[in-house]
């Protein structure tokens, strides 16, 4: 059922079993899963089904970093305030986080999830169904099938080709619109902005969510359970501005809300590769349609063993066929002439992209500013900061890659990184993660393994903001898997 927040009566309180803030991938998944189990859900969405300028302006804020700067419009351009949320911008790449992503890695400070990949696997299975992505294509099993003929390196090297898969990107709002409208168990409030979480006197339980509408009424939603599903920036923002009882913000006793912001640093033009071998081997990394509308693309990544041995963050390169680096012909000729291979290899030159995991860094964070939006809510400033851990991993990874291409006579690597400023040309990937991280103990995170805020009985978070580390791939499948897991957990509590 749809309700237009602009037409509601000011001062009213609406009640449900569960109130979900944000109708993106996580919020819609959670609402559909819970309503299917018979639970009564209110789903609050800031926008409607179409983009609206006044609503999008609520995303305004500033973004900066000592190095790098994501650009002044990043907060607006990397998010969407309408039903479906940021899935309206999602490219659709599907791949689960790797098992090592969940493990504590002694070379990555603050790493380690309180759950492991095995615990999430059943929910990934359900996530693929929700994302209309076949398991065969979406899971790592696909790699072993594709890999037999598609590896650039033999198995005794630190690198393997991995494959990313893209079914037609699922726009959650459009795709689920009819279901949301028809559901008797879901009330979807459009144009309704959660502006404060109201708690009891000792902030151990949420009593209501205060909702405001641009140039419209204010009202409240009261529920048994509340779930914030507003993404990696709005979720900490809402907790920080909800400071009536806890001055530092709700759930922020240990000053962790908003910290550990992570994205996937991306270089569109990272360098180049001269490949000494059959071009068809390299062509297997190209985007290709294994079946109509279903894209698969290869990337070169370090093995788990290599990550451990060389203390690497997850990193991969892809190919740019139209971005051939300078001197590639000369390098190719030199390498070709001085190859130990019996027959002179064919050389192919391509450019490379590079994507990497960002290590969790408490100084990379979302903070409130004194500037208020149209609803009187403090805007945020994003301080995206990469660390020495990121620098060291990037340098080592590139050198290791160059070494392996050379050692195995498979090619040569060029890199455009400046030693003194390796992140100068980095781009963010608009994957906002880590700002309300999951942990076993409140001293180390904001939510527990069940995504409940430490110290607050009935407040949960379904968002990439709960990721303790960000892996290498799009967060959307993992967001959906965690939302399904949370739905099961909440349904169990309400039995």
């Amino acid at each position: 059922m749809l309700l237009d927040g602009r037409r509601l009566v000011a001062g009213e309180t609406h009640q449900a079993e569960i109130c979900i803030v944000g109708a993106g991938a996580a919020g819609i998944t959670l609402a559909l899963e819970l309503s299917a189990k018979g639970h009564d859900v209110i789903l609050l969405e800031s926008g409607g089904f179409e983009t609206d300028a006044a609503t999008e302006s609520l995303n305004d804020g500033s973004a900066e970093g000592s190095q790098p700067s994501p650009g002044k419009d990043y907060l607006r351009l990397s998010r969407s305030r309408l039903v479906g949320g940021t899935t309206n911008r999602w490219e659709g790449w599907c791949r689960p986080f790797a098992p090592l992503d969940f493990a504590p890695r002694e070379w990555v400070p603050h790493s380690g999830w309180p759950i492991d990949r095995q615990q999430l696997d059943p929910y990934y299975e359900r996530a693929w169904q929700r994302l209309r992505s076949d398991r065969w294509h979406a899971d790592v099993a696909a790699d072993s099938r594709l890999a037999e003929s598609d590896q650039l390196f033999s198995t005794d090297t630190p690198f393997r080709t991995i494959f990313l898969h893209r079914p037609p990107p699922l726009r959650f709002g459009t795709f689920h619109q009819a279901e949301l409208v028809a559901s008797p168990k879901i009330r979807l409030f459009l144009w309704s902005n959660a502006v404060e979480i109201v708690t009891n006197q000792d902030a151990t339980a949420v009593e209501a969510v205060r909702v405001a509408v641009v140039d419209g009424p204010s009202f409240r939603v009261s529920a048994r359970y509340y779930c914030l599903a507003a993404g990696g920036i709005e979720t900490p923002r809402l907790l920080l501005v909800s400071n009536a009882v806890q001055a530092a913000g709700l759930g922020n006793r240990h000053d962790l809300v908003g910290r550990y912001f992570m994205d996937h640093p991306y270089f569109e033009s990272a360098g180049g590769l001269v490949w000494l071998g059959h071009q068809r081997a390299l062509r297997r990394l190209e985007p290709r349609e294994l079946r109509p509308d279903y894209l698969t693309v290869g990337a070169l990544a370090a093995t788990e063993e290599a990550q451990r041995e060389h203390r690497l963050l997850q990193t991969c390169i892809g190919l740019q066929w139209n971005d051939i680096p300078e001197f590639a012909d000369g390098i190719g000729a030199l390498a070709n002439m001085l190859s130990t291979k019996k027959s002179a290899p064919v050389t192919t030159s391509v450019g490379t992209t590079l994507t990497c995991e960002q290590s969790p860094n408490p100084e990379s964070r979302v903070v409130l500013t004194d500037t208020k939006d149209a609803l009187g809510v403090a805007q945020v400033r994003l301080q995206w900061r990469l660390s020495d851990v990121d620098n060291a991993s990037l340098r080592t990874w590139i050198i290791l890659l160059a070494r392996e291409f050379g050692r195995t006579s498979r090619g040569r690597i060029a890199t455009y990184f400046d030693d003194d400023d390796p992140w100068r040309d980095v781009l963010p990937s608009a994957h906002h993660m880590g700002t309300t991280r999951m942990s076993d103990a409140p001293e180390r995170g904001v939510v527990d393994a069940n995504l409940r805020l430490h110290g607050i009985d009935n407040l949960f978070i379904a968002s990439s903001s709960t990721f303790p580390t960000g892996g290498l791939v799009s967060p959307t499948p993992t967001i959906v898997a965690l939302a399904i897991r949370l739905a099961d957990h909440l349904a169990g509590k309400m039995r």
Partner: protein, 129 residues
């Protein structure tokens, strides 16, 4: 996005963990005596790109200082080998060994074995003459 092909031109990757791209620095590129027949110079008398690579790299004072040291090591290994195919094979094996031992340097954005760096430097010096 800009392809940052110029700013890193003279940079050398620094030590990173256990893997280091050797900072290819150190020896002046003083003209060394040229034999009437120098198999290495004959060998690098190839594509113009090699000379440009080497010349650009040698334009950096630090790199230029190191070049002679690398070239001297290469000449010592090559010894009296004059047969072109034997020389080619020797260099090919030396290149693979360089990579395996992480003896690498950066020339105009390319991460190359020390042997390849030396060859580029030789080619670059020919251009400067």
């Amino acid at each position: 996005m800009m392809a940052a092909r110029t700013y890193s031109r003279r940079s050398v990757l620094r030590v990173a963990g256990g893997l280091a791209v050797a900072s290819v620095v150190g020896m002046g590129c003083a003209e060394e005596p040229e034999n009437s027949f120098d198999p290495l110079l004959e060998l690098v008398d190839g594509p113009e790109a090699w000379r440009r690579l080497g010349a650009d790299w040698l334009a950096d004072e630090d790199q230029s200082r190191k070049a002679a040291e690398i070239i001297a090591r290469l000449r010592a290994d090559v010894g009296e080998t004059k047969d072109p195919e034997a020389l080619r094979l020797l260099l090919a094996r030396r290149i693979e060994a360089d990579y395996a031992a992480s003896r690498m340097g950066r020339v105009n954005d390319w991460i190359l074995s020390e042997t390849e760096v030396a060859l580029c430097a030789l080619a670059g010096r020919r251009r400067r003459r």
